[in-house]
Amino acid sequence: MMKSLLGALAAAALLATPAVAQQKVKIGFVNTFSGPNAAIGIDERNGFELALDHLGRKMAGLDVEMLYEDDQMKPEVGKQATEKLIQTHKVNFLTGYNWSNVLLASLKPAVDSQTFLISGNAGPSQIAGELCSPWFFNASWQNDQTPMALGEILNRKGVKTLYVLSPNYAAGKDMAAGMMRTFKGKVVGEEYTRWPGQLDFSAELSKVRAAKPDAVFVFYPGAAGSQFFLQYAQAGLKGQIPLYSVYTTDAITLPQIKDVALGSISTQQWVQDLDNPVNKRFVAEFRKKYGSYPSYYAAQHYDAAMLINSAVVAAKGDLSKKDEMRNAMRKADFPNTRGKIRFNHNHFPIQNFYAQEVVKDAQGGFTMKTLDVVFKDHSDAYASKCPMKW
């Protein structure tokens, strides 16, 4: 009798152990952690990690396991990393993806394997249009939107002639195209520089000086941005021809460029000083934990983490309920550093775009200040090409 009772207890204990080994939420994070733009990948990871801290590192009671992979800014490496995360590690969500060309290469493996891919930064026009997918969500913006807002600012400021400089890859072309969509003046020069290799812009700056435009528009993310701003000042153009940019001055490049960027105007869907409780908490705790201002890169990944959490919570931790998770994400009911956004039918956000200016803060550091709202509840220009309906 005792033996069989002990036997039954032992069997019950053995049966109980699988329940202790709970299912985890596995999130694959593909970003740039080496080379000159490693600072961006690190900032994005910090934003995502801060969100996980705020969630207690659990989603719907399940532990979160993060798997970080380096894409080295190369599409083929990013694609291989994505495939490894899907096939070997069987992740439930993929996120990160700072560069549009890396994202475009990595989308197919995610879609084919029916794994959710939440882009934290890249927003190429192709994925907003014909390549839109029920497995893809964008937590940031569509590449054209931010420069479209800038084109609007140029119109308001009465700029008649413009010189455009942008890097020669998917996002560079989207940015220039977006700006020219709304800009009503004349583009007197349009140059696409080698990407990512070209760091010396002296030839292009000489051409700018010769063309004498009313203003110059650039898009140079990461390390190239610091170099461009410094060379612009060194070429003597800083006081002479106003420089407008998108995604070039941010919390990562400003500590390097410093005074040279003061007063420069750009547009974005998020600014450090946006007045909503989620953002205030995000900025304050980011500064406390990491000692620097968060960039929009970090804010977008904070939002991406919250978006993923809303999906897992809605499915009550059952990660096989993919349709329920998608419906939850479509509701866009998650704490957001931008206030309130909703998703368009191509899974890209409909949100406000703000004009922002580089200013000095009380401690002598450099940050961005909101000037005004350029677009309210703006949707991207490619949504009509997306056949998805819901």
Partner: protein, 307 residues
């Protein structure tokens, strides 16, 4: 016309930066028959040293002057610890080893200085503009680069042509075994050559740093161009490196400046703006390929024949 001259100056400045890097590389490859991929890392470390010393000493000139002997020391230590063991090996082993050194230096730089990079701000006396061409305020700093490059070219020329050590260098480039057999301390010669090469690479990094900011991996792109330069100029020849770097630097810059306009004459505007960056990136390599076909030994090959 004025614009062309300005672009020519831009190209000349880039060419002399390339020369500083290529001169060391060609000496190392020519005399020591050693393929040094880590040359780009020495360029990067030189820039980091200059940025750090400038910050500590609060003086641009002192920071730059201190960075060079520091880089020389690093080059000598590297030669004694690592490079020396590889002389008897094949070129492929050199490539593997120095590629490993690139990775090592990149990670070491990230550990010491962080991932975000540094800036090396110019002092006020170099931030002025000089009107070398009418109506064109050209940055004084870029003129300084041209000046320093020409000065180093002159010093190297004197060193190689008119001193004993230069004679040993030229002899070593022509026939290394014979120089060893004639009783010259080949090991010490190699250490000196590697140290000088490292110093030149660091000088190039220091000169480039105020324009291009100091980043991890900053040497990799320019190293490829430096290899193109030494192939065109002739391996082992400083004169060849000078001529080839002028050709490569000026054609690259001027080509980049005027290619879009030229293409716009034959293609549509969107076609031209898409094709121009791709073509201008290829241009230098097409140039190198045609040189290899027409004159494979380079513009000024080392006398006595090379393998």
């Amino acid at each position: 016309m004025i614009l062309f001259l300005e672009q020519f100056l831009n190209g000349l400045q880039f060419a002399l930066l390339l020369f500083l890097l290529a001169a060391g590389l060609t000496l190392i490859f020519g005399i020591m028959d050693f393929v040094n991929l880590a040359h780009g890392s020495l360029y990067m470390v030189g820039a980091y040293f200059a940025a750090t010393f400038t910050r500590w000493l609060n003086s641009f000139v002192l920071g730059v002057l201190l960075a060079l002997p520091a880089a020389l020391l690093l080059g000598v230590v590297l030669e004694m610890l690592v490079i020396r063991r590889l002389y008897s090996r094949e070129h492929l082993d050199h490539v593997l080893a120095t590629f490993g050194l690139i990775l090592f230096f990149n990670e070491a730089a990230r550990l010491v200085w962080g991932a975000a990079g540094l800036t090396l701000p110019l002092p006020s006396f170099l931030s002025v503009f000089l009107e070398v061409l009418p109506g064109v305020p050209y940055p004084a700093y870029r003129l300084t680069i041209i000046g320093v490059g020409l000065l180093v070219a002159g010093v190297l020329y004197y060193l190689v042509q008119h001193t004993r050590i230069g004679m040993l260098i030229r002899a070593g480039a022509a026939n290394r075994e014979m120089v060893g057999a004639l009783g010259v301390n080949i090991n010490r010669l190699y250490t000196i050559v590697f140290g000088v090469g490292a110093c030149l690479a660091a000088l190039a990094g220091v000169m480039a740093a105020p324009i291009l900011t100091v980043q991890i991996g900053m040497g990799e792109n320019i190293l490829i161009l430096a290899f193109v330069v030494i192939v065109i100029g002739g391996i082992g020849s400083v004169r060849g490196a000078f001529a080839a770097s002028i050709i490569v630097g000026v054609t690259d810059t001027v080509g980049r400046a005027y290619l879009p306009e030229i293409l716009r004459l034959i293609l549509s505007p969107t076609g031209a703006s898409t094709a121009a960056p791709a073509l201008s990136a290829m241009f230098i390599y097409l140039l190198m390929a045609s040189f290899l076909v027409v004159r494979p030994e380079g513009l000024f090959p080392a006398p006595g024949g090379r393998k």
